[in-house]
Structures are given as structure tokens and as C-alpha cells.
Symmetry: C2
Subunit: 411 residues, 2 copies
Amino acid sequence: MAVKQFLKCNVCGKEFEEAVKTVCDECFGPLKVQVNLEQAKEKLTKSVLAQRAQSFWRYFELLPLNEKRNIVDIGTTVTPLVKAERLGKLLGLNNLHVKNDAVLPTYSFKDRPVTVGASKAVEFGYRVFSCASTGNLAASTAAHAAKAGLQCYVFVASNIEESKIASIAGYGPTIISVEGIYDVANRLANEAADKYGWAVMNVNVRPYYQEGEKTLSFETCEQLEWKKPDAVVVPVGSGSLLYEIWKGFEEFEELGFVGKEKVRFYAAQGKGASPLVDAVKNGGAIKPYKEVHTIAKSIAMGAPGDGDAAIRIIRETKGGGESPSDEEILEGIRLLAQTEGILTEPAGGTTIAALKKLAEQGAFDANETVVAYVTGNGLKTVDAIPKAKRASVKPKIEEVDAIIANAHLKQ
Amino acid sequence: MAVKQFLKCNVCGKEFEEAVKTVCDECFGPLKVQVNLEQAKEKLTKSVLAQRAQSFWRYFELLPLNEKRNIVDIGTTVTPLVKAERLGKLLGLNNLHVKNDAVLPTYSFKDRPVTVGASKAVEFGYRVFSCASTGNLAASTAAHAAKAGLQCYVFVASNIEESKIASIAGYGPTIISVEGIYDVANRLANEAADKYGWAVMNVNVRPYYQEGEKTLSFETCEQLEWKKPDAVVVPVGSGSLLYEIWKGFEEFEELGFVGKEKVRFYAAQGKGASPLVDAVKNGGAIKPYKEVHTIAKSIAMGAPGDGDAAIRIIRETKGGGESPSDEEILEGIRLLAQTEGILTEPAGGTTIAALKKLAEQGAFDANETVVAYVTGNGLKTVDAIPKAKRASVKPKIEEVDAIIANAHLKQ
């Protein structure tokens, strides 16, 4: 039987058998997993998919795992694609949708790559999971380790917020707080992982881990009744998510599930951490940032690891990008919550703020189908939520009367 | 055409046309909605359901709304029913499942009743939503008001935590902070609502609002491949949730979707706020508490409004109940997170702690299908999460070595 998947260099195209390997022997380019689509085609049809439960692993044939018994699943589901009628009206878009990944089990899209990375790590025989993270990835890695009954070491920078530590600690990992910034913690995690033979989600099992992200586009197509959107707006840190969403559309096209029309890709980064968007705008190569300054911390990366792949896609599809300021990001959070009832973190606010700027620039036709990807929830970052309008009253109806009269005056 | 739904007194059985009405004219008993199941039967079959999207409103025919155009939906989905293998093994249960409602759009089960209450309020012509709440209900009400483009007034007690205020404020309601405890805020909310003609989710549209909760059992049956579980463990505040889950099973039985076998109901309340569980244990009537003391604040009610209905169900089905201490509740949170990767709030910890006590008492046979309902997420209440084991190190591998050696010694 032919192999289910292999590794392929994303720069020179050289192919390798599946292994714990992340970089090309020839050119040091990043390796990606390529699932054998011919094989998948024989088993997977639209009608087969229609009969399956709405869980993440409904796409098993398209994910880089050989045996179903190795699946580590904490209940990751298909997330809602919300028709954003009120937000769309404000932006002049009649077919705007928001894909809400804030409702995954650990409340960010990270459960997608981690369920694949964790399952593959089990398949490779690892007995310990690890990662370095500032929040979302750590929570997801620790939750999957708990479900698998495996040990977990999470490396964090010593300046991490206590509230984030608490949300990670609940899952019971050993938390190692490293003196210094995130990069220092990351290097130490890799050194320890090498020495002790751990599976580090975003490092040594990264090619498999990343493949989980492409399910975002599989779900989007199914939810649009087997159509691609015309344009998507994606938050960009490393660029991996944008690349994998593109890859998902390509694979569904190759399987004959959707048509050949191209999706335009738009990147959202926070101002102060926008190397990719800068390059998109000025037409040149990506120039890394030495320091990053944005409230959208979960996507603040100076040197995007998959930036080259991401920029190629944006240019080929005639897309674009925007990099809103902190203030615009906060306005983006407010706008989404107050028009669609979805409370997101600053990374999601960045997506919405970029969408707004792009819409105002005329990037989209009014009737195009546009999908904005919201990748994390707002509860982990309530500090970033605009301060409450809060009226304090004695328990007397007259005091309420005054507030209501005032509210009407403001309208 | 026959009506789609009517109101029925849950004490004397008298029936009323649908209206904004919560109490029986004859006996002052609580009114419940009864959907016309004969009518629903003509349109709804298992195969029709199988073809519908996994969204809350897939059960439209069984919900008390006349027109689909009145639906207010922020993306409430079918939530995962997780096979809890590791937790089950610890408790000696081979078929334990956890229904995880922490992943709804505002991160608690309240999105179920509120999407119905809000939609019905729109159908009745209301232009303003309101509620008094300590957290989950307020967030959900404000989010649905945002989606509907309506005004929202949320009443809170002045001693509410700032972090909760922030998570509510994001959706943009007018927050009225009332001097005094929750009950004072609640009375003022009702007075204002009467005066200004607002829809108060848990008060004047309560019978419709409550009906949203029965979808928990519809989903459970579908996810168990059209079977009822043998037993369920449900957190109890007012008792409404337990009643509605029971009602959902009854309706699926009447529609012929599942068999006639009875489900045993077990109630979970926090010690210090357990009037229902006390009555279950001592066999007498419910004696209200004047004061409540438990960390499971979202289910801490001294006088459960639907307690009589809930206790009747528990007794008829030969179920039971347990009321874990604060310490046991925290252990329940830890247990669920560290075996299944699901981080819940104290109410969910109460359910798991009660499940554990009941399992230890031999309430379940090892092979019975048991479902535990986890109704809210842990991020809103991180203060309740057990403190982190956190090791601080310099960025040197030798310091990590020491931690790992230590971790191995502990095993």
C-alpha cells in the first residue's frame, strides 16, 4: 500500500519519508507534510463526509496520522461560520462571515494543530509533550497531554501574566518559568527536548502540527455549501496559518470538492509587528523586526518562519494586508462584540480592524463572500477589553430612570 | 393551522395561549411551554435531522418560535459529548461521557436558553433586553442584544468581580451596578423592566427561555446514536436545567426517536447551598436556605424555583444527588482538567465532584452509559483554579535537569 503522507521541502521540493524532521537536508528550507491525495480520493467523498460527526477528525484521510487509535482528541469540533450581518452592513459587505475558533476546547485555534501534533507524537512513540509559549499553545498542549495521560513540560517567560499561568496550570503540566523573554524560554525548551526526547509541538513535530490548521478551510468550504470564499482575512504571526488555510483550499480543489476559482488572501498584523504586511505594501522582501510592539501579542513575531510562503500566496492571489494600531485593534474587538456578540482577543481584534481598513479601501466588492478568521477568545485577555460603562445606583427606580433618560439622549 | 406551542401550568396542568406570562392564573404554579409534538412529528424525522447543520436551531420545530426570521443566533452550536476514558477509568465507569457546554459562544450553557428567550422576545416585539445576573447570563444576554442590534440593560450587584464586569462590558450593554446583593439587583431589574417594557430573559420570557435548555438532551441522544443514557449528573441551581433535560428526553421518546427506558437523574449542588440534595437525601420537602455559602456561585440558590419539578423527577427515576464541599469542588475541577483536558468553572467542578462521590457509593454499574453535564468554562473563574506548580529557573539546562529529576522521584 502506498504511504499516507510524506515530507516535502517548501523551498526546493525535495521529498522525504515521514520522520521527526523539520528542515530540508539539501537547502535547509522548512519541510511540510504532503498527504497522499490520490489515496484519500478513493475513500473520501462529499457524501461520506456528510454522514460523519462534526468533529475535527472527520477529515482523518487528509491528516498525517496512520492509525486512528493514536488520536488524542479533547473534543475539538467544527466551529461556527457566523453570517455577520450587522458587521457586514457597517462595512458595506453583504456576504461577510466570521469563522469563530474562540469556541474550541482550550478557547483558541491552537487545538487544531495540537490535536494533530499530539496524535502524531503518540504515533512516533513519544511519552512527554512540551512547548514554549506565551499562552494559547501552552494551554492546548497541556490539555492534550492530560487527555493522553502523558507528562507535560511548559516553558514560559518569567514576565508572563498570572492569569495566563492560572489558565495553563489547571491542566496540570510542570510549568518552568525562565528568567528572560520568550525567545530565551524557547531556546531552553528546545535544548531540554533534545536532551530528554520530548515531542515539542511547535518544533520537532511542527510539520504534522501545522497540518491541523488547514481544517479551517475544509470547514469553511463545507459551511459555504461546497464553495470557496472570494477573499479571506487571516491573522499572521509566523505565517503558518495563512499558508495552511491556502493549502486546505488547494486540497479541496484537487479532490474535486470545490471549484478552481482563486481565493484572495489578506494578512492582518499589529502595527509595530508587521514585517509581512510591510513587505506586501512596499513590494519588497520581508525585513524582520528586532523588537515587536503591539497589544496583539499572540501574533507578534519579528521574523515570520513561514513568511516567504505567505507572501507568495498573497501576491499570487492578488490579495493584500493591513496593520492596525493598538487603538484600532481595541476598536476591532469592540466592533465584533457589539455587532455579532463574539468576544475575541487582540489577535482577533487585529483581523477585524484590518478587515475594516481593507473594506474602506475598496478591497472587496459588496457582494463578494468574505471570511474573517477569529482565532482566540477574549476572556484570557480581559485587560484589553475597553473599560466598562458602569453606572452605580442605589436600589431605587428613580436612579434607573435617570440612566435611561441619559441613554436616550445619547442616541 | 394548529398552534405551534402553548403554555401549561406545571402544577395544576391548566393551559393558556402563548403570551408574556410566567405564572398560572389559577394556582400560581410556574408556567412551562409545551410545543405541539404532533405537529412537529409531521416535519421532523431522524433523517431530516441528519441532513441539517450542527447548529442549535436544527431543532426549530421543537422550540417555541413561530417564525425563523426572528431567530437571534450568535453561532450556538451542538457541543461535544466527550468519551471520558481516563476519568471513567479512575471512577470505575466504562461508558462515561462529558457534555462540554463550556465551548458555546459566551462560554456557558446560558447561550441555549438566551438564544430562545431573545428570539421569542423579538417575536413578541420587544426592543430592549435585560437581566439581573452574576455573570454567565449577563454575558449571553448582552451578546444576543448586540447581535440583534437592540439595547441591553444588565443589572449586577455592586460586589461583582471586576474581571466579570470586563467580560460582560465587551458586548456593550449599559451596566447598572446596584448597591447590595444579587437579590436587590434582581428586584430592581424587574421593577425597571415592568416600567419600561423590557424583555427580561430569566423573568418575563422565562418559559420560552427555559425551553432552550432541553436541546442538551436532544444533542445527547443524537450523539449516543439515538439512545438515552442510563444516568445523568446535572448541576442544580433553580432546578430548571434538570427539569428541561428530563423534558428533552421525554419529547424525543414521544417523537419515537429513542426508546422508553428511563434515565436516572442525579443532582449536584455545592455544600452550603444544597436545599434540593438535602431533600433528596432525607426524603422530605425542600427547605430553602436563607444564606448560601459555596464557591459554586453560579448555582448557589437558597430557594430553587423549579425545585419541586426537579425532586419529583429524581424520585420517580430512582436517581439521587450529592453536595460536595468547596475543597471537593476544586478537586473536581482539577480532576476533569487533568484527565480530559476540559477546564471548567466551580459549577462544573461540582458536577464532577458529585459524580465521583456517587460512583464511589455504587450509584452506577460499570458498563452503564453515564453523562455528566459541564455547563461553564474555567477562564471566568481562574481564581478558583488550584495554584500553579511553577518552577523558576535561570536559562540553563542544569536547572531543568534538577526539575526533571525531582518530577521523576515524585512518580
